[in-house]
Symmetry: C2
């Protein structure tokens, strides 16, 4: 039985950048589960698995199909209870949702403000047209207008991670002494920024930067194998 | 054996407002533990229990003395494992620290910006002098200058809770189907604002407001027994 992970891909299959896919790639490695990656263009996603989901990641695990990074993590925790835990219990599951919504509401817009034109440039031609149209409608600005705000967005980035920075005074990971899925949630957002824009958003010695570097080293340097932009 | 909780008090002992004390009051009720409250003025705290801590809450539980709201919650979880859990496991403990630092770094400054002159006015005379001197040094502005920014601070408040608002699409409490200590962390911050400033910070129908109202009803309406300012 081959486990298949459908992932988002730009022009270069070797530079996967989706934050949601990175969360799941790290979760699968955490559970020590093998899988085959199926890089997919934005515009090809709706046709996957008979239209199962409009977004990736999608995991096919034998007869089981699961979409959405958080749902996939919950599935892995339930289906593979003998592997290292992704949540550390029911409280950890519930509070990981808060971390996810912090990441989505605070960090994702901050990454978008820095990286959106870089993301566009990494896409295949047919995806670029879809991406420009959908993102410009969503943001109410052209990609070129977003580009002019890039330096200000870089300067505004690090302060948004102040809750994580303060937490790191107490423990090396969101999960405590070792990482949990909550770490992969915020890692996914920063890895997305690193691979697409590669902006230097942290001052030297920033505890958040040190935590991110530790995450890049996890699972035999799985995150680091894709170089920064 | 009487369990003693040293709490912060202004002029009126019936209107305790400290966010950190509220976290612990809710945690003790959650664990179904009785206690006697010892309301203490700011300037009297350093003399408590032979100078055990510069801040309240301080819990005396028989021979055990614990200061700091998070440390007290950890102590209660370990000392009273048969009561309802405050963390829901090790993952919940670790991630509650992230919620605490989100509350301290994002919500506490937002409450301070609204309520600081109200807090000052609730204090006993000797505490008012201490409070003005220490807070004006910390914030680099007079209390009167802070007061002029109050309306803007009220308008800016609700958006800062967007991670919680989005999380509430998935579950009724940070703890999931039922509250955990993480709920009491953010409840403490909002209860502090409610009792000191009583500002209408939420639009009708805001999910965060609904969650706060649910928290006020917990433990036989423990939070609601102190009226809003």
């Amino acid at each position: 039985m081959t486990r298949i992970l459908y992932t988002l891909s730009g022009r270069d299959h070797e530079r996967p950048f989706s934050p949601h896919v990175w969360k799941v790639v790290m979760a699968l490695a955490h559970k020590r589960l093998d899988f085959v990656e199926r890089p997919t263009a934005f515009t090809a996603i709706p046709a996957l698995e008979n239209g199962f989901s409009k977004t990736v990641p999608i995991l096919r695990d034998g007869e089981v199909l699961v979409a959405d990074s958080f749902e996939i993590a919950l599935y892995l925790e339930q289906a593979y209870p003998d592997g290292p835990t992704l949540f550390g219990g029911e409280g950890g599951k519930a509070l990981s949702r808060f971390v996810e919504r912090f990441s989505q509401s605070t960090i994702h817009p901050a990454v978008t403000a820095i990286a959106i034109s870089d993301i566009h440039d990494m896409l295949a031609d047919e995806d670029q047209r879809y991406f420009r149209r959908s993102r410009e409608a969503l943001l109410g600005r052209t990609l070129e207008e977003m580009r002019t705000g890039r330096e200000a967005a870089i300067a505004a980035f690090a302060p948004k991670l102040e809750p994580l920075r303060q937490m790191l005074r107490y423990q090396p990971y969101l999960g405590g002494e070792a990482p949990l899925f909550a770490d992969y949630i915020l890692f996914g957002a920063l890895q997305w920024m690193r691979i697409t824009a590669g902006a230097d958003v942290f001052k030297p010695g920033d505890a958040v930067s040190d935590w991110f570097e530790r995450c890049l080293d996890l699972h035999q340097g799985l995150g680091r194998r894709v170089t920064a932009a």
